[in-house]
Amino acid sequence: MPKRKDIKTILVIGSGPIVIGQAAEFDYAGTQACISLREEGYSVILVNSNPATIMTDTEIADKVYIEPLTLPFVSKIIRKERPDAILPTLGGQTGLNMAIELDESGILDELGIEILGTKLEAIHKAEDRDLFRTLMNELNEPVPDSDIIHNLEEAKAFVERIGYPVIVRPAFTMGGTGGGICYNDNDLAEIVTSGLKYSPVTQCLLEKSIAGYKEIEYEVMRDSADNAIVVCNMENFDAVGIHTGDSIVVAPTQTLSDRENQMLRNVSLKIIRALKIEGGCNVQLALDPHSFNYYIIEVNPRVSRSSALASKATGYPIAKLAAKIAVGLTLDEMMNPVTQKTYACFEPALDYIVAKIPRWPFDKFESAKRNLGTQMKATGEVMSLGRTFEEAILKSVRSLETGHFHIEMKNSESITDAWMEKRIRRAGDERLFFIGEALRRGVSVETIHEWSQIDQFFLNKLQNIVKYEQVIQANPFDQEVLYKAKRMGFADKTIAKYWHVTELEVYKFKKENGIVPVYKMVDTCAGEFESETPYFYGTYEEENESIRTEKESVIVLGSGPIRIGQGVEFDYATVHSVWAIKEAGYEAIIINNNPETVSTDFSISDKLYFEPLTLEDVMHIVDLEQPKGVVVQFGGQTAINLAAGLEERGVKILGTTLEDIDRAENRNKFEAALHEIDIPQPLGKTAVSVEEATTIANEIGYPVLVRPSYVLGGRAMQIVYTEDEIKHYMENAVEASPEKPVLIDRYLTGTEIEVDAICDGENVLIPGIMEHIERAGVHSGDSIAVYPPQKLSQYQMDTLVDYTTRLAKGLKIVGLMNIQYVISKDEVYVIEVNPRSSRTVPFLSKITSIPMANIATKAILGQSIIEQGYTPGLAPTSPGVYVKVPVFSFAKLRRVDITLGPEMKSTGEVMGKDITLEKALYKGLVAAGMEIKDHGTVLMTISDKDKAEGIEIAKRFYAIGFRIMATQGTAEAIKNVGIPVDIVDKIGSKGTTLLDVIQKGEAQFIINTLTKGMQPERDGFRIRRESVENGIPCLTSLDTAEAMLRVIESMTFSTETMKHQEVKA
């Protein structure tokens, strides 16, 4: 069917900030969709609150709105733009929920706006547990015994009938928020209560647990002419019971015979037809490992994380085609964009295996529950392609950047057998490594299967790997053994360890003996048709298909899996760098391993290598491509960390040289450099031992800021107040060594400033300066950033520009740099310089319309800032006020303390822009998901050091009509200044306690500040967690509280009594 001619303008709804369960995959899907619709001649209006995405670039859509994804704001945009239609199925659950809200509000009917793609009725049928179950019954398809419950009593009744274990799935939430498996009454009470709270319709599905079944997924597509295909099927390495986003997944299925495969394929197609899906859809099934019995677990009537994975795994661009289906095109009339010779109506054939491993944030959240269940906890994922399972899984392991290069763990000797068994029985993030260890200890595949219910096929494969370790160890520098080891995916690093030599020696031996990988094309058709896709993976085989072109090339290293501290912002910069390289006339080659992102869309670069970002894997590509050089400054710390090794092996690092990168990152060299250019920094030194650390801290005086060098996202960064604390930190939190010293700085309170700049070696362009709402001490990624600064004097601004310029030149930066300053007592100090792209690059680029990554890349390639048409110095200020507000995923992570501090905790960000700071903040906070009530109760528990400030805030809340509640100490302080306050009892008391107030929803805001340091402070922790569990904004920084207060003040009016007139006699 030809495309629709009756519609011209289409509104695409994005997915908002990155949170656990909804990450960069929607930037990829949304970007593809927008480009795809514009290709067909439609005018695209995009709304998304997330500035860190390619999707919100002005080149991607005809009109881009970075505004909150809430009914009032989206309605306003709709009224203004009057689109003919909206496309909601590409913006994740957020996009879908927004569309449902819009529909229910009546605005779509009122303005005659059509919903494209899958109809809302189908979405309801797929998402509403009850309707879905009814549909499955009609289709005669089995679903696990289940019941919809609305309260705990109903849940108990269900359990009485079915027995434990049962699974709780809250309705209309993504990533399984609030769900889990219950084994007993306590679990049931806890999980059902939280599940009901998270469900916007206060509804949960209780389901008989089918844990242990194989979890199989089908990514299906259907068009309006009822053509339906399966793009990819996938098998979870982990059995049913662990959220698919938290499972290791392989594609295609491995342990299913054709009969099982066709059976489930037929079911998936039957469902997608019954739902009348027009676009992409994900069907999750559970298959009994001992029979043909199966159950339908879930259907997602939209593109998803799985569809992004399927797209990258097969080369088949699901989102792109789903968008075209939405405007009426059918699969049999569209070409397969990969082969460009065959049609889109076909099912990709793979001649490789794909393995995906999730990336969890537990390295940052030491206290978090590491168990995996039905609620997703991963922030990102890596994917690898290989010709065997062994190769694919080992490539993925070393892509994770968790310090693992093999299925083994550090300090394995100290793990007891009992602990090992426990960690294999109850899945956690490190299960794969525990299994490796168990196999090494001689535990049988059968036993591990019994513990884990992981299919023996996969366990046997892991066994193959472990068995071969011994062969490698026994045969140093044996060519045949080495070749086989490489074919099984062993890393050079692992082999070097077995041979007691350096990694470089293994690499050299490999090269001398011609043991190098070849690169195979991902072509959707297993070689059956000729294709030109520039999408490759490495493997040890005979024929290489990646041919170096005549054109001079530049390699850009991507940023790997999304994790806290290194998010989609770095993919944004990577993509822009690739575009700039192409514009400058070079062949742009990218290496990355993250299946969710735009940068791994093969249509972005001239050539995509989907490979691990390790020295070995990058070097082989460099050897083949012989590029002009490698760009490392856009791929976050992942890429920067590779620079030294690459240069050591003779690779040219483009832009800021390795020596200068080191000068910015090595504390002592940095200090010397600052001294030379005469820029002050807080007192500080590096320590490599506990003793040294305490001596330094005593010298410079507490409190001090401690952190390991060479990290991103403030990992393991803390403010310590006493000698005991610093000892504890040095002994437990970090492993200090001469290679990895710990930085100890005087902690200065004051305003934190962030500046991004571009230097071409001679001139410095400063697109903008940002001021943080929260004072120094809160990680910059967790602070609200404001552009332009609101509180700085001209003198301070001038100083910042002067320092930034001198730093850029002094450190010989070529490309991007990011600097953090603190202004304490009117003095500007440098805290940190990052010789690379930063989290704020997309935000600032969008505000100032200065394409920073593009300019920086061209500067790296030799085009000066002036030649590019920009004036050095601070760019003219853009009109308006812009705020970047962090977004957290605390609801997904049990037992994580939400207090803001030097270690970053947020997963994403939103932008708020308007004409005043208050308005911009309002938008930012609302877009970040906070509910701002203009009246109600504030619950305050303020530590002594913050009492004075806290009282001021209490006064202002009182002035605009809020009721104040506080714990004893805080309450007395407030009462002393004459403000009425209700006292609430501490946790554990007999009367109404803090927890009761929170649980009953009696407080609209909670302000809680930490007493001091990091000592476990159990009451505070419980208050903060309870507020997360109950969805009440909890502010742990008085600066954030003050900002929020300003917003509320600007929304309301204070009421005051008239002063008594004094009649003078």
Partner: protein, 366 residues
């Protein structure tokens, strides 16, 4: 494992590991892109005399079971894969692929760059190749010379067909199923529809068939070049117009040839489970299972009483025709699936309906 070579007629040599039978073989090297269903492909009689390469690299994962054979006798000459699974995992598995092939005297080679091989076949078309004896070192030039001199056998249908008829009773329509190297899947679909089936050898005459008073005749799939079995073409000529006919794969080619169309050899065939076929009558595209090295020339259809009903979406070749005067239709692909998609199983229902319609006509004439 012992070393084994795969040597192609163009001189390319692949060194890998031997599995299955120790004795080597010669055959036409072909490839299938299906990712599951190796047991069905290996037992598919249409592959008689050929050396089958699996483009999917890991084969044998779910072992071999007693249910999924498409024939009792294995016609296939050899198997080429990237990695053989030694420890299969599936509840129905009763043994490994290697053990099974050994028992059936079929040699296999594993550990080679099958994608390179596939690309060679794609470029040059299907080639003859030799799998050497396990552990044997050979003179490559000599082997190439021999390969070039080797004729592809013309009696493959005879090799995989049966020699005498047998019944597969049911209470429904009586169907004579001509076995040219039939996949069990076809029998299974007819059984499912309660047909009263008599399976007959490929060289059964029209008179013999009509003498069985069938409600319909089903022409099965089979190996090789359809022009190699002129006796079958004659038989088809003799039954067209006298009884409803449904043909699959080789059966489709025979109906077309019997109606005056011509066939040709495809460069490297259609083999796999992801081939889109457009039904020109409904406009809908279905994913099909395919396994054929020959096809019917679309231009040659014009001079016949046939009309094209199905085309391959990718290369536009003929995938199905229907007789304009008589109740005869056929498809080049495999509606029975096994292995592969089952999107087109409804064609068997159409065959039943066609037989029903014909018998109604007859009874109204009576």
């Amino acid at each position: 494992m012992k070393t084994r070579y795969l040597i192609l007629e163009d001189g390319t040599v692949f060194k890998g590991n031997a599995f299955g039978s120790d004795a080597g073989t010669i055959g036409e090297v072909i490839f299938t892109t299906a990712m599951t269903g190796y047991q069905e492909s290996i037992s598919d009689p249409s592959n008689c005399g050929q050396i089958l390469t699996f483009t999917y690299p890991m084969v044998g994962n779910y072992g071999v079971n007693p249910d999924d054979f498409e024939a009792i006798k294995i016609g296939l000459s050899g198997v080429v894969i990237r990695e053989l699974a030694e420890q299969p995992s599936n509840f129905r598995s009763t043994g490994t692929l290697s053990e099974f092939l050994k028992g059936k005297n079929v040699p296999g080679i594993e550990g080679i760059d099958t994608r390179k091989l596939t690309r060679i076949i794609r470029k040059h078309g299907s080639l003859k190749g030799r799998l050497t004896n396990a552990g044997e070192e050979v003179n490559v030039d000599q082997v190439v010379k021999e390969l070039l001199a080797t004729e592809i056998p013309k009696n493959v249908v005879q090799q995989v067909s049966i020699t005498r008829p047998y019944p597969s009773p049911g209470r429904g329509k009586r169907v004579v199923l001509v076995d040219f190297g039939m996949k069990h899947g076809i029998l299974r679909e007819l059984n499912k529809r309660d047909c009263d089936i008599i399976v007959v050898p490929y060289n059964t005459s029209a008179t013999e068939i009509l003498g069985m008073y069938p409600d319909g005749v089903m022409l099965s799939n089979g190996p090789g070049d359809p022009t190699d079995i002129p006796e079958a073409i004659e038989m088809v000529k003799g039954i067209i117009g006298k009884v409803p006919i449904f043909g699959v794969c080789l059966g489709h080619q025979l109906i077309s040839l019997a109606s005056g169309a011509t066939s040709f050899k495809l460069k490297f065939g259609h083999r796999g489970g992801n081939h889109p076929v457009k039904d020109l009558r409904t406009g809908r595209t279905e994913l099909t299972s395919q396994n054929h090295g020959y096809a019917i020339d679309a231009d040659s259809i014009a001079q016949t009483d046939l009309e094209i009903t199905h085309i391959a979406l990718n290369d536009g070749t003929v995938e199905g025709v229907r007789h304009t005067k008589f109740p005869v239709f056929c498809v080049q692909f495999h509606p029975e699936g096994s292995s592969g998609p089952e999107d087109s199983k409804h064609l068997f229902d159409e065959f039943i309906e066609l037989m029903n319609a014909e018998s109604k006509k007859e009874s109204s004439h009576a």
